[in-house]
Symmetry: C2
Subunit: 275 residues, 2 copies
């Protein structure tokens, strides 16, 4: 499918040269065909305010999912044939780096559009369990990990997103490695213990918890107690986080760009950390 005559009409229009400048003259003379051939001009990179880490995996076809089909894409149009380029995507909401909203497990729980901006821009704390997880993929983040974290890094701020860094973010390129098994219920990857998740609710009033694995619960769970009980507190969880080793344990701010999927059970979001 193509907008009728796009390439030709773009060529005609750009010939008009509506404003002559160095760049528009360059582009205007030759139209989209030449514009397409030009390398993108160098842009001065604006100095960041502080440092950033991108906690989001590239959203790609075949990204490993807990269940249902992995994401798929197809090309709709291309610049050579149609004058512009676009793709179509099909995926379940729990694909890629994504949110579990309360409504994912709780009847009457909030859906994606109801998660407020105040719940999307929050301090992020990263608890490292990589060493134990390397030895035991069924390990869980425990209350002991949280109290040890606090002795070393200070108190977890109220309202934080508390993320588990298990090292699994680096395995997402390989579905078998990431899942630790071919299919549910034979998965093996770390997750939160119920006790730790509820301690964070009751003792630290967190906004959310996050994992770099496929599930808030460990992979060998078939009962999903963290999903059931943590989400029932009207909080959200993030799954499939990336690059948690690039964020300081404490002190960064997370921006969770959740698309407000209509009646969404959560869904893909862009997560950035800044400090």
């Amino acid at each position: 499918m193509c907008l009728p005559g796009t390439v030709a009409s773009v060529r005609d229009r750009t010939r008009e040269g509506p404003r002559v400048t160095r760049r528009t003259a360059l582009l205007g003379a030759a139209g989209v065909a030449l514009a397409g051939a030009l390398p993108p001009p160098a842009r001065a990179v604006r100095p960041a305010k502080g440092r950033f880490a991108d906690l989001t995996h590239t959203f790609r076809a075949g990204f490993p999912v807990f269940t249902f089909d992995p994401p798929a894409r197809r090309t709709l149009v291309t610049i050579p044939a149609d004058g512009f380029y676009s793709q179509e995507w099909t995926f379940g909401e729990h694909s890629g780096t994504h949110m579990d909203a309360p409504g994912h497990f709780v009847s009457g729980g909030r859906f994606s559009p109801e998660i407020t901006p105040e719940e999307l821009i929050v301090p992020i704390v990263v608890v490292d369990v990589t060493a134990r997880a390397a030895a035991d993929p069924d390990t869980m983040l425990l209350v002991d990990d949280l109290t040890r974290f606090e002795r070393r890094h200070g108190r977890i701020p109220d309202g934080a997103l508390v993320a588990m860094n298990s090292g699994w973010g680096a395995k997402a390129h390989d579905p078998l490695l990431f899942k630790g098994g071919a299919s549910f219920p034979d998965y093996h990857f770390p997750g939160f213990s119920l006790e730790a998740a509820m301690w964070l609710v009751e003792e630290r009033d967190v906004t959310a918890i996050g994992v770099d694995t496929l599930s808030l619960d460990p992979g060998d769970s078939s009962t999903f107690p963290v999903h059931v009980q943590f989400l029932a507190t009207d909080r959200h969880g993030l799954e499939g986080l990336a690059n948690l080793d690039r964020v300081p344990p404490r002190g960064a701010l997370a921006y969770v760009g959740l698309i407000p999927w209509d009646e969404g059970s959560g869904g893909p979001c862009r997560v950035l950390a800044n400090w």
Copy 2:
């Protein structure tokens, strides 16, 4: 499709009552069925740092698109039947509130994952053309509008996202109203003039431009000069912004949560403003 035995196994697990607290006791006693029936508990709303506006339309089936099919969704599983709830989505990248990346119109231009965090968290400036647009849906944001804006509100900061508020954000519930015509090339809605877009590049080194309509170019354009020439400067554009009337003309920071769609020509993003 359902994870085998999810509801039953969740019930079994929650009966174990791994940690007794007010909430876990409440939920643990009855399992997910009761958890599902409970109203979400009241949460103390955390005081926002400053004010927020959500510049994103709810991403919904049937949201008006310039071309191709509008977004579609289907329910994959439900809590009563399967123990959890999830949906599947199918849509073109230029659906809902979304980005046009350089690669949308420029061969060799950057795709979604290549847009940097520094280009996603930027000052936002909102230029109001609602009065003129109400009288003439084919109107354009002109260089005059920008110089008039600066006389009133001060200089547009370098690196900003400059958004056109045409009043079209309030029309997105009605495809015919939003498009101003049944199908391309009979659309009528406001957009940037090429001169204004390139003035912002050359005189103010903006990061991006944004519109509350379906296209950076006005609806009656069949040549898309802003798409061709602005995106060729390696900058991005945002389309389908919402609630621009709720943002101050100057002084807010925009967070553009673009999902890093693999080889994406742009795509759905969550846009928040904070000031």
